[in-house]
Symmetry: C2
Subunit: 211 residues, 2 copies
């Protein structure tokens, strides 16, 4: 199973590293980090680069595509080279997936028309303009399209996919190995649970880099 993990300027690192940590442990998985040009790609905060070992053009037919989100998403929505690659790759993928605002890129490529999709809670509302149906679930599976909500949801998205592809027991083994027994010290991880004024603040004037 050949997995292409897409990088672009100002992606959110956890969006892609969460899924990578689970999907790379599918038996016989081969993973390529890819970007328009091979080389280091800077994440959103500016402090971290991940290396794309190969250029998009060199990986035209992966079995699985994973597209992260991040503030850079909005620039890439205009990047026809990336959108074209997504269309071409999707024509032969087994699974086409995204995390966070990455679903906007799948949608902008025309791949989610009439389909339900997740996205970061702050970017869900952008999906309908591309004909996709925004769905406020953490992981949404619609045919071969598997989309996750914001940032950390990529871990749940990927573990769901590992179970489907490699079986429940293998997915449990991956969960055990990555000790994924989350115990967040707060319960503010969704707009329904966080203090309302924080949700409002993000909606009107983000103090943080939009993930």
């Amino acid at each position: 199973m050949h997995i292409a993990m897409v990088l672009y300027d100002r992606f959110t690192a956890l969006d892609i590293v969460g899924p990578y940590e689970a999907l790379s442990r599918i038996p016989d998985a081969r993973v390529d980090f890819v970007a328009e040009t091979a080389g280091p790609v800077r994440a959103d905060t500016g402090f971290l680069s991940l290396v794309a070992d190969r250029a998009l053009a060199d990986v035209p037919h992966p079995d699985v595509v994973v597209v992260p989100g991040g503030p850079g998403t909005f620039t890439e929505l205009e990047n026809e080279k990336l959108l074209d690659w997504l269309r071409t790759a999707d024509a032969t993928t087994t699974w086409t997936t995204s995390v966070c605002s990455g679903s906007l890129l799948l949608a902008a490529a025309g791949l989610l028309r009439g389909r339900r999709a997740a996205s970061h809670w702050l970017t869900l509302d952008f999906l309908p303009q591309y004909g996709a149906e925004p769905t406020a679930d953490r992981v949404v599976v619609d045919g071969k399209y598997v989309t996750g909500a914001g940032v950390s949801a990529g871990i749940d998205m990927a573990l769901t996919l590992v179970g489907t592809v490699a079986g429940d027991e293998h997915a449990q083994a991956v969960q055990l190995l990555t000790e994924y027994d989350p115990q967040p010290p707060y319960d503010a991880g969704s707009p329904l649970k966080a203090p309302a004024h924080l949700v409002e603040e993000f909606r009107t004037d983000s103090r943080f880099t939009l993930a």
Copy 2:
């Protein structure tokens, strides 16, 4: 607040990217990814490199140190250059932290003598030989030493630290931004919860790269 995130050959990527995603959002945080030599550093599966922008020697006095785990830990236990750097840095840190088997490196540097510490469930038993007290909690705070359990526990470790450093509300905002509302599709994330035969299999003959 100057944060040094340590990389070494065959680290586990999520161990360091989980904490980075939270800690880099502390107000006025400055993050340096560091390694013995600046440049790309290969993670454990062999598919991904993160870039160390600076060499250890160039970042002698960070405020916070984060040490990831991974199968490479066992090689680094013999790396006196890294252990020396940890001792020097620790002399002036506000917080010295680790994820997963990274606590073995803090312990081998002599920093956890008489202290409680977390580690990956498969590496907890190595702590006593360095005088540390293995503690099967997800996040352990003992003085300025904050250690997390395996891989994904780094997110909980970091969010705990964000709350301590920047206040509960800021930590909640970071949790909301990263949509950290975990919903694992299985409940096998600890040796107490996973099927017993999987736990036994890992203990005797790991099918996976040890994280």
